[in-house]
Amino acid sequence: MQTFDLEAEGLRALNSTLHAQAANTNQTHWEIVNPKGSHAIAVGLDAPIEVDIKGSTGYYCAGMNKQAKVHVHGSVGPGTAENMMSGMVIVEGDASQYAGATGHGGTLVIKGNASSRCGISMKGIDIIVHGNIGHMSAFMAQSGNLVVCGDAGEALGDSLYEARLFVRGSVKSLGADCIEKEMRPEHIAILEELLKRGECDAKASEFKRYGSARELYTFKIDNAY
């Protein structure tokens, strides 16, 4: 395992070192110490490596991730795993605003709470939150799955497209065009796999599913150009 002291060596050196790892690198496991809330840690990775961050991070941790598994042993600031393409990001603590925003793929696991705008405009990412999520989460979510083991804040899933939202606790309010939907056996199967992947022992049968009523302007074929 390689250990990198972020405070001593700096952010640019860290990210360029991690970017230099090729698909067949034998340096497959990295440990980052002294993150101290720094921004843009482990951003833009594109190799099958594991990165353990020993502490809390600032903005945009693990953004644009491909292939890598990034594990944060602390809490994360705004925009974590933003626009993730593939791979996995695990946060042991809480996540600030817009975690997993615009993500195209991969898995984001938040073991604490996520705040507002979690999964905003998600495009295929799977997000599993062990705690609660804040307001305007999954706004305009296009595809992928958002699993919330706790409660959801106001305006969940406003203007969403085809993303699936699973919430175990209460939902403060649903956003425009977001409705509760029937939980069929195929959804239970999808959710069971997501919960397993997210290291979560909640029962799939305890969740409700929410999705788009497909009634907004954007769903009317006569409005197409």
């Binding site: 809330g37 809390s56 507002s116 804040g134």
Partner: protein, 309 residues
């Protein structure tokens, strides 16, 4: 952007380090706003005395014999301590109103930064590091304090546009965000007789809270009604003689993180500002909820005002 920090000490043994800790926290936030910086510190109190922190762009001229000149006019005790462009005047509490009027007459270019029994506010254009050095903030002790580093969006980069703003006796406010209805609210408040000096949006927010409290609201009630009456983005941190409070607008896109241990409660725009505080790894760290008023007080038996907050 803008960066905000706040530190409320529970452990009195840390009080001599308050200025040092706040300075480091604020310097860490420099890249959130390099235009101007300010710090409010709640320090020691002398019975029956009030502190007026005043500022001048020409301190050699304006502060020369200011204490003597003021003493002659108010016929009372005046002590003055000059720090760069600021001076702290200690005056009998019941002579403050008279002193402020006389000040506008004898030193028309001197501006009042703060009025309180323990509060002192220091703010200037420049980076947090420079501003803290000019006023030797590192060596100030106190029970609690708040700081701000500004990236101006709504008004000019001037000393008067810098934060914190004094909202009432021993009360102050810092703001991250921008208010969009500050022009109409300023006109409304001015019509009601509220003095607002600049075109700055935060000053209007501060004046609004002052006005609400003059009308009988508690600080908590004033902060709660600000959620209805202020339009725009805000994370406010407010200081009072005994405590400090935090409120964010309902959209809450301006960042905020808090930490609490047995020794302190700390606020930062980012977690980076908190990383060097003692015991931070064991602290309870969380993001304050939108549209929720938080308040901490040193007062074991809080006043009705603080209870309501």
């Amino acid at each position: 952007m803008c960066g905000i920090v706040g530190l409320f000490l529970k452990d009195t043994s840390l009080e001599p380090q308050l200025g040092d800790m706040l300075t480091d926290m604020l310097i860490t936030m420099t890249d959130r706003g390099p235009d101007s910086a300010g710090i409010a510190i709640y320090g020691s109190e002398t019975n029956g005395n009030a502190k007026l922190t005043v500022q001048s762009g020409a301190p050699e001229r304006d502060f020369d014999k200011l204490d003597d000149d003021l003493r002659k006019r108010i016929k009372g005790k005046v002590l003055m301590g000059v720090k760069d462009t600021h001076a702290v005047l200690s005056i009998k509490a019941d002579q403050v109103a008279a002193a402020r009027e006389i000040l506008t007459e004898i030193r028309p270019d001197v501006r009042v930064m703060s009025h309180g029994s323990t509060l002192e506010i220091y703010k200037e254009v420049g980076l947090p590091k420079e501003v803290a050095e000019r006023f030797d903030i590192r060596h100030m002790s106190g029970t609690h304090g708040i700081g701000h580093t500004r990236m101006a969006t709504e008004s000019a980069v001037t000393t008067m546009g810098a934060h914190p703003f004094n909202t009432g006796v021993d009360q102050c406010l810092v703001h991250n965000g921008s208010l969009s209805n500050h022009n109409s609210l300023r006109r409304k408040l001015r019509r009601l007789g509220v003095h607002i000096e600049t075109e700055n949006d935060t000053e209007v927010g501060a004046a609004y809270l002052t006005w609400k409290m003059q009308k009988g609201s508690t600080l908590g009630e004033a902060l709660t009604s600000s959620l209805d009456d202020l339009d725009g983005f805000f994370t406010f941190v407010v200081g009072t003689k005994d405590g400090f409070g935090v409120v964010r607008d309902p959209i809450a896109c301006k960042p905020a993180v808090m930490a609490e241990t047995d020794q302190y409660v700390a606020f930062g725009s980012e977690y980076r500002a908190l990383v060097n505080l003692p015991g931070i790894d064991q602290a309870r760290v969380w993001e304050p909820e939108p549209a929720t008023v938080y308040f901490w007080s040193h007062n074991a038996a809080p006043t009705a005002q603080e209870k309501a907050a």
